[in-house]
Amino acid sequence: MAKTRADFADFNNPDTIIGRGVVVEGTLQTAGDIQINGEFKGKLVTEKDVVVGEHAIVDADINGQNVYVAGEVRGDINAFEKIEILETGKVDGNVAASALSIESGGILKGTSTMHEVEAERPETEPTYEVQEVKADETVEPDTTSS
């Protein structure tokens, strides 16, 4: 389910936050959620989600599981699952994800690539089971079933 604007105010208490008025430069690599409300330049890598807040300016390539953009991103975004560009969001770069959504008002200046998702195979019940038979034993035919 898509996150609403209200969800961005308190995004599951993220491990890493860059607040408004703060400028961070460099490589930010973490295993938890990242929320950016200030400015970031460099490279951003996480195993979890990234939220670019409404007033945030990100001049970096982003790698994450899900990436939600409500601010400005100048760089490529690579999401393992989903990228959402909200109505105030602006991405100036190429995006790659398994799913992409752009709200009305949201801007994407770049190419989009969709990751291929392996089709789920339906699970099937075995129609018969093979019984182990010892060499000197004979298997009696099952006469109870008709």
């Binding site: 491990d15 936050i17 607040g19 408004r20 460099g26 690599q29 409300n37 200030g38």
Partner: protein, 266 residues
């Protein structure tokens, strides 16, 4: 047998005032100890080397924040548990362990539990728990904000002026560089085993606007000098380098929370 290191100067020479009662209480609780007075903390290394024996079960600091911090730096490499009898004006670490006064501390020594706490390093010194860095203006502002009751009553008190903050530059692990207006910064040690990361929380204009980051080494400097506080005590000034360490110190703590009640007067 405990080695009691006493700072007789701590808390306006408070030890002198409680000495008799303290020693009697320890005797009543059958706590075995040897006591060394340390009027000069500079001699600490020599004193500990001379009095630390294989039979010593713990080093106990009798003093305030400053004495505890100095002793932690000495004891960190000794592998001996550390106890605290708080007699100074402030004792942040003792309070964080639930040891609010010397009476509770005596009970701890009689029936101790140990708690391993991660050590951090600020410059060349060790610390435990959390550090706070505030702009000078904020500290001064606390005093300036104390307005007179008469002014308040007459309604002539002025609204507190917004204190200017410090432009700070913070480096984390040589990978991240942070620039911002610093109002308050806290650095907390991660107590999770095997993870020496420090948690950094930077507040700019308001407490709602927080920046949270993690790192092993943090360098902080500002366009003005800022005090680094542990509890209420200033332990350093910026520019400063704070490191997470993989070292632990065993602290003597309470087995159960104790509530002391006053005896009713006859």
């Amino acid at each position: 047998m405990y080695l009691l290191l006493v700072n007789p100067e701590a808390g306006n020479k408070r030890f002198g005032k409680i000495k008799t009662r303290l020693l009697k209480t320890l005797e009543r609780l059958a706590v075995k100890f040897s006591l060394v007075e340390l009027p000069n903390l500079v001699d600490l290394h020599e004193v500990v080397s001379a009095h630390l024996k294989p039979s010593t079960t713990g080093i106990v600091v009798v003093g305030g924040n400053a004495t505890v911090n100095t002793v932690i730096n000495e004891v960190a490499d000794q592998g001996v548990p550390l106890g605290i009898i708080p007699v100074g004006k402030t004792n942040y670490l003792a309070h964080s362990l639930g040891i609010k006064n010397w009476q509770i501390a005596c009970r701890v020594l009689a029936d101790p539990d140990t708690q391993a706490r991660r050590l951090g390093k600020i410059g060349k010194h060790y610390f435990v728990g959390q550090l706070e860095i505030l702009s000078h203006q904020n500290l001064l502002g606390k005093y300036l904000r104390k307005e007179s009751f008469v002014k308040k009553f007459l309604g002539t008190s002025t609204a507190p002026r917004r204190t200017p903050s410090v432009n700070a530059e913070i480096k984390i692990d040589d990978e991240l560089q942070i620039r911002g207006v610093l109002h308050k910064l806290s650095v907390k040690l991660n107590d999770e085993r095997g993870n020496k990361k420090l948690r950094l929380e930077l507040m700019t204009d308001s407490s709602k606007n927080v920046t949270k980051l993690w790192g092993d080494e943090i360098e902080i400097e500002g366009d003005k000098k800022m005090p680094v506080l542990m509890g209420n005590e200033t332990v350093a000034h910026t520019p400063v380098e704070i490191k997470g360490s993989s070292k632990y110190i065993d602290l003597l703590t309470l087995k159960k929370p104790v509530k002391l009640t006053k005896k009713p007067k006859k």
